[in-house]
């Protein structure tokens, strides 16, 4: 079988039948471009949910019980943008006869400001300043304790013990109950320099938390977890988002392919007489099928390439400013920091729509291919 001959015939047919080729191609271009953009938007939604969830406090990867001798820089491996050193202890807060249990996190306020978004959720007062004996507390806990900005809060490891006194400098409200009610923050005064410490790692865009976790070289006593392990509900939501998008793609292509299938059938049957002529010249059935496969796949791949370029351009245009869905996400805990979505492309979001287009186009061509290949030349010539 002379592949070069049939490729030459196929592209000449596509190029010199520009009107019908163009019409069919337009359907494929619009379907591919739309799906690429939609998938990029869906990925952007997932990115935003992750970003919003991890950027408040926890980071993409959290390492706990790191021995004191391990330097902070040890954790700054490829893909890690910020390493926040913290020390956490379970404490009781007391004020005016009221008490509340919380995890007190000692932090570097400036580093936290640079990497997290919690300081933006200040509801009263201000965020922490380095070197001060201050407390930054959830608004609901402050209300429960009856404490105001500037008041002193007693901190102890037991309900009756007082280890230190901290002045309330500000309160925060994220809308996430475990955070608002379970955490409080104070500047790290380096008093526990010989104690184990914790780290929150913030990663660059697109870096896999799992790969960073696997590449960290820490003693066995340190426990390293990713956001997906700590927030399985978010992980499930993102997986659900991805699955829904895949179903949308398949459904859209199935529906679009009905139109493409009809158009392809007309496209092929319009030239059925020419296939009869070729059969009368001794073209093998396999060569007829090859020709049709080359025509279909050539058209689909070329149109898909244009669709990909269009989808990429649209994604790039929108990705910069982003899409502000604040009105739809303001009460959603997974969008606690920002409702702006930045569409993002992945290899899969680029490759899947064209592959689906090719699959459905070839499926659409099966019936006319079989029909033409199986008929005798006279039957094909008579079929017009």
């Amino acid at each position: 079988m002379n592949f070069r001959l049939w490729w030459g015939v196929a592209w000449r047919f596509l190029w010199r039948s520009r009107k019908s080729t163009g019409t069919l191609a337009a359907m494929i271009v619009s379907a591919v471009a739309t799906l690429i953009f939609l998938d990029a938007l869906s990925i952007g939604v997932s990115d935003a949910m992750i970003r919003n969830s991890v950027s408040l406090v926890s980071g993409h990867v959290m390492a706990e019980h790191i021995p004191a001798g391990v330097a902070q820089e040890t954790l700054r491996i490829a893909g890690v943008e910020h390493v926040l050193k913290r020390r956490t202890s379970q404490v009781w807060l007391r004020h005016g006869g009221q008490m509340a249990a919380t995890a007190l996190v000692s932090v570097d306020p400036q580093a936290e400001r640079n990497a997290t978004a919690l300081w933006r959720k200040t509801s009263a007062g201000r965020y922490l300043q380095a070197g001060q004996n201050e407390l930054f507390l959830g608004e609901s806990v402050a209300r429960k304790l009856g404490v105001n900005i500037g008041d002193t809060v007693l901190v102890g490891t037991t309900p009756t013990q007082t280890d230190r006194e901290l002045v309330l400098c500000g309160t925060f409200r994220t809308g996430i109950a475990p955070l608002d009610q379970g955490l409080s923050f104070c500047p790290d005064l380096q008093s526990g320099a010989n104690e184990d410490w914790d780290a929150a790692l913030f990663l660059a865009g697109g870096v896999s938390a799992e790969s960073v976790r696997d590449n960290l070289r820490l003693p066995a006593s340190a426990a390293v977890t990713t956001w997906a392990e700590r927030m399985p509900d978010l992980k499930q939501l993102i997986d659900l988002n991805g699955l829904c998008m895949l179903l949308v793609m398949i459904l859209v292509f199935f529906i679009v392919s009905l139109g493409i299938a009809c158009a392809f059938v007309i496209f092929i049957l319009k030239n059925i007489r020419e296939h009869g002529i070729m059969k009368s010249m001794g073209v093998f059935s396999g060569e007829t099928v090859l020709l049709l496969v080359l025509e279909i796949s050539g058209l689909t791949l070329a149109a898909s390439a244009v669709g990909m370029a269009l989808g990429c351009a649209l994604t790039w245009l929108v990705a910069g400013p982003g899409v502000d869905l604040g009105a739809l996400t303001s009460h959603n805990q997974y969008f606690a920091v920002s409702g702006i979505i930045h569409p993002r492309l992945t290899i899969l979001s680029l490759a899947l729509p064209p592959l689906l287009a090719l699959l459905f186009a070839l499926l659409a061509g099966i019936w006319p291919m079989c029909m033409i290949a199986r008929q005798r030349p006279a039957e094909v010539l008579r079929s017009i």
Binding site: N2, L5, R12, R16, S17, K279, G282
Partner: protein, 236 residues
């Protein structure tokens, strides 16, 4: 050499099975030409398709160049056609998206003729049909007569042993028709080709070595070029 024996072909229709070719026998020596005459519906095209392997007989035998065409199928049949048969249809039926030169070259490419030899043969034929300047034109840019001339060139490009032509002049004016027929028979004689032409045109009978008239799928009359009459019904 073409030899067909008691060949029949019927088509199913709303009227039941309609015999289109009914027990036809004829033979034609290599290098000779035959004109198949008859009214519309007499079975000329079907008989031509049967001889050319484009259709399969319900019964009977067809031998072309010693090959049992009636039993060849699939790729064996296609291989025989691409090497040994050229077909000229009523309206030319060029491949609309190939240029004149590409259409003429097509059977040569099917037969894997090397490029240099292919180009020479295409040039030779285009000059013979007077369309060398139109080598890069598409069929839609040609007149009816030009289309038929290109179709003829395509049909003989690979020097087939057999040329079958189905009413090739029906869409042409008489001058163009005569020129095409003259070219076809002349080139056929020069290249030793067996030529069968289904036609309404009486002028063709003057150019062919033998004429066979079909009526209702049977041979009604046969005449040699020397006007020798043959019996109706069977021709050998």
């Amino acid at each position: 050499m073409i030899r067909i024996t008691e060949v029949t072909k019927a088509y199913a229709s709303s009227r039941g099975l309609v015999p289109v070719v009914d027990g036809v026998s004829l033979s034609l020596d290599a290098g000779r030409s035959l004109a198949l005459m008859g009214r519309s519906g007499s079975g000329k095209t079907t008989l031509l398709y049967l001889i050319g392997g484009l259709e399969r007989p319900d019964s009977g035998q067809i031998f072309c160049l010693e090959q049992p065409l009636h039993s060849l199928t699939g790729n064996s049949l296609a291989r025989f056609l691409r090497k040994n048969v050229g077909f000229l249809f009523q309206f030319g039926n060029l491949l609309s998206y190939l240029t004149v030169a590409e259409n003429v070259a097509f059977p040569l490419r099917l037969n894997n003729v090397p490029a240099a030899q292919r180009d020479r043969r295409v040039q030779e034929l285009l000059e013979k049909i007077g369309l060398a300047p139109a080598a890069h034109a598409l069929p839609r840019e040609l007149s009816g007569g030009e289309i038929q001339r290109v179709a003829f060139a395509r049909a003989v490009a690979h020097r087939p042993g057999i040329l079958l032509a189905d009413e090739p002049t029906s869409s042409l004016d008489s001058a163009s028709a005569y020129n095409l027929m003259d070219l076809m028979f002349r080139v056929g004689r020069d290249e030793g080709r067996t030529t069968l032409v289904a036609t309404h045109d009486p002028a063709v009978t003057a150019l062919a070595d033998r004429t066979v008239r079909l009526e209702d799928g049977k041979i009604a009359h046969a005449t040699d070029a020397d006007s020798t009459d043959r019996s109706a019904g069977q021709e050998s």
